[in-house]
């Protein structure tokens, strides 16, 4: 198992190299002059030339790329062109906010989604089932910025239960987490329902019933546990999207996360910030995928045995 995890973590290296190269190329090919951004409105051609040299932008593409990688390996991700602060400080100040929001949204989506999906499957074709299908359809099709605004209007501006934009504590997390997680919630609900409907008809579920177990135990202990693999897969993917897709919600709720930072950095052609953010997201995606694979092993002994036998 440890070997499996180490091997998968080692795979991060080629992934990150590939992603950084692609993003570096794209940023280099897009029009716009970062030196202008850096110097502001008033500068002399000499200052421009000097700054170009100082930022290393006079060197060939490949040399710049390799030196970026070289520095990055040592923990130096460069200086932001726009704020002139070290990139790492900028990101570390905001990344935890995004992570907290994404985790809160994911927990909301998984907990509510699995509960709704399970009841839906257990009471197939009931009124509850139709209602949850309808709700899931709305959840998937509703634009989340609009839903965020509605939440603010009703629960922040109207009822005053939660703050709308001030960034403080758990209470300020509730509305953005719901707005961000609703889409994933709908997807997880549907996935839980369909996966559970399949396992609920299995012979071993009938065996469990024949033992005299209570129906909820039959469903939760015997059917749901076997239905978890697709639910974990979809939840992992959703987590990746939640981390990278929080741009709109962060803007609606004035949430100081990396989503907004990334959009601003792209507009200002702030290559060091963009690169580092994309690398973080790629890294997160890989780690989340590894996490879901480890979760598989937790839920299914057959997969656990495969990992142990090093057949993966």
């Amino acid at each position: 198992m440890h070997k499996f995890i180490l091997r998968r973590l080692a795979m991060l290296i080629p992934v990150l190299l590939g992603v950084s190269f692609i993003v570096f190329s794209i940023m280099d090919l897009t029009p716009g002059d970062p030196v202008e951004m850096y110097l502001g409105d008033n500068y002399t051609p000499e200052a421009h030339a000097e700054m170009t040299k100082e930022l290393g932008l006079d060197k060939p593409f490949i040399v710049r790329y390799l030196s970026y990688i070289g520095n990055a390996v040592q923990g130096d991700f460069g200086i932001s062109y726009s704020t002139k602060q070290p990139v790492l400080d900028e990101i570390l100040a905001r990344f935890p906010n995004t992570l907290v929001l994404a985790i809160a949204a994911l927990i909301f989506a998984i907990v509510v989604g699995i509960i709704l999906g399970t009841i839906s499957a257990a009471k197939q074709n009931s009124i509850f089932d139709s209602m949850s299908t309808f709700t899931a359809l709305i959840g998937v099709s509703m634009p989340n910025f609009w839903f965020g605004l509605m939440l603010i209007i009703i629960f922040a501006a109207g009822l005053g239960w939660f703050p709308s934009s001030e960034f403080s504590g758990v209470k300020s997390l509730v509305l953005p987490a719901i707005a961000l997680g609703t889409n994933s919630l709908a997807i997880i609900t549907r996935m839980t329902r369909s996966s559970l409907l399949e396992t609920i008809r299995q012979d071993y579920v009938r065996t469990a019933r024949a033992k005299g177990l209570k129906e909820y135990k039959v469903i939760i202990k015997h059917a749901l546990r076997n239905a978890m693999i697709p639910i974990i897969t979809i939840s992992g993917l959703q987590f990746g999207f939640l981390i990278s897709g929080a741009v709109v919600i962060e803007t609606v709720f004035s949430w100081p996360g990396i989503g907004r930072l990334l959009v601003e950095a792209i507009q200002l052609k702030d290559t060091p910030i963009v690169l580092s953010l994309v690398l973080i997201k790629a890294g997160m995606f890989t780690v989340i995928n590894l996490g879901t694979d480890i979760m598989y092993a937790f839920f299914d002994p057959r997969i656990r045995a495969q990992y142990k036998a090093k057949r993966v």
């Binding site: 012979d203 071993y204 065996t207 005299g212 177990l213 076997n226």
Partner: protein, 337 residues
């Protein structure tokens, strides 16, 4: 036969309903079983054997299955009218079931030991540790070493899985075991082992057994009584000797005729002609009449009743009810054995 009736099924009717059609799986079935007795329920695929067994524990998938009428009396209580809690107390504890396919009837994500311990913990007032200890003993009892307690179903062969299922079904010393083709999915040598095991346990625990099979040889080996099922009805029942030595119903006779004998040179098997009737559209009168060699006008119109022919031997056939002219038929019926 002074022993008390452990299980009595009266007029059980089970249907599977879909939007377009109704499958008449079990039709006014009557069956009884005394304590300590083992009854073989024999019939072709689709005769309604499994549905009957599932109905006893009310495990028929609903929808589409529906028990539309009848009574299932277990120790005098009608299980069809029983409350859920009572039914749960019966399931796995008083009546347990061995399912047809051991490959799929164990949960792949729990260890075999824990799956056995689960039913013990549920019904016997004991600690988890005691339940685990007893589950380990149960594994030993069916010939699986204790130290395989923590292994998962995928680490077992088919025969061993069926042993685990058997261990699970006897764990709470039930009064009645419903065994739904327990050996069908196993190869012949393992079949023999499993049957021997069930026979031993039956004697040791004095359990009644309802053995569902389509294998007459298995019935002869394990059962005291036998009931022949056709198109959702019992057509003939009696002790194994009565039915095997003197089969009366043309269907039963056909079944025995279709078994090839060892001391005779045979080129072709002798099957019963025709097909099982379509359960959505059963024949009128006697349900066997389209395939019966003695079919008469009256068979298409009149439903046969249960007729006692000798001892406990009961047949559902118009010939034995005396509704057909005996001179042209009886000799012919008795030509086998």
């Amino acid at each position: 036969m002074n022993r008390s009736k452990l299980l009595e099924i009266k007029d059980l009717t089970v249907e599977y309903r879909t939007d377009d059609e109704i499958v008449y799986a079990v039709n006014s079935l009557n069956l009884s079983l005394h304590s300590g007795e083992s009854l073989g329920l024999v019939g072709e695929t689709g005769a309604g054997k499994s549905t009957t067994a599932l109905s006893i524990l009310q495990l028929v998938a609903d929808p589409p299955g529906k028990i539309t009428s009848g009574e299932i009396l277990f120790e005098g209580d009608d299980l069809l009218k029983a409350k859920r809690d009572f039914l749960r107390h019966i399931r796995g504890n008083k009546i347990s079931m061995i399912f047809q396919d051991p490959m799929t009837s164990l949960n792949p994500v729990y260890s075999v030991g824990d799956q056995i311990a689960e039913v013990i913990y549920l019904h016997e007032k004991c600690s988890k540790a005691e339940a685990q200890q007893k589950a380990a003993d149960m594994l030993e009892m069916v010939g699986i070493p204790k130290d395989r307690y923590d292994e998962f179903p995928h680490q077992f062969s088919g025969g061993m899985k069926q042993r685990v299922v058997i261990a699970m079904s006897i764990a709470c010393s039930p009064k009645l075991i419903l065994a739904d083709e327990p050996t069908t999915a196993l190869d012949v040598t393992i079949q023999a082992q499993v049957l021997e095991l069930m026979n031993d346990l039956k004697v040791k625990l004095n359990t009644s057994l309802l053995l569902i099979t389509h294998d007459l040889g298995v019935v002869a080996q394990v059962c005291d009584r036998v009931a022949i099922m056709y198109a959702g009805e019992i057509v003939e029942t009696g002790t194994v000797e009565e039915v095997f030595e003197h089969p009366k119903h043309p269907y039963t006779i056909g079944l025995f005729r279709s078994i090839p004998t060892l001391d005779e040179k045979v080129d072709r098997l002798k099957p019963i002609t025709g097909q099982m009737p379509d359960p959505t559209n059963l024949p009128s009168g006697c349900k066997f009449h389209p395939r019966c060699p003695h079919m008469n006008e009256v068979c298409t119109k009149m439903k046969p009743a249960m007729t006692n022919v000798a001892g406990t031997h009961i047949v559902k056939c118009l010939i034995h009810e005396g509704k057909l002219d005996p001179t042209e038929i009886m000799e012919e019926v008795n030509y086998v054995r």
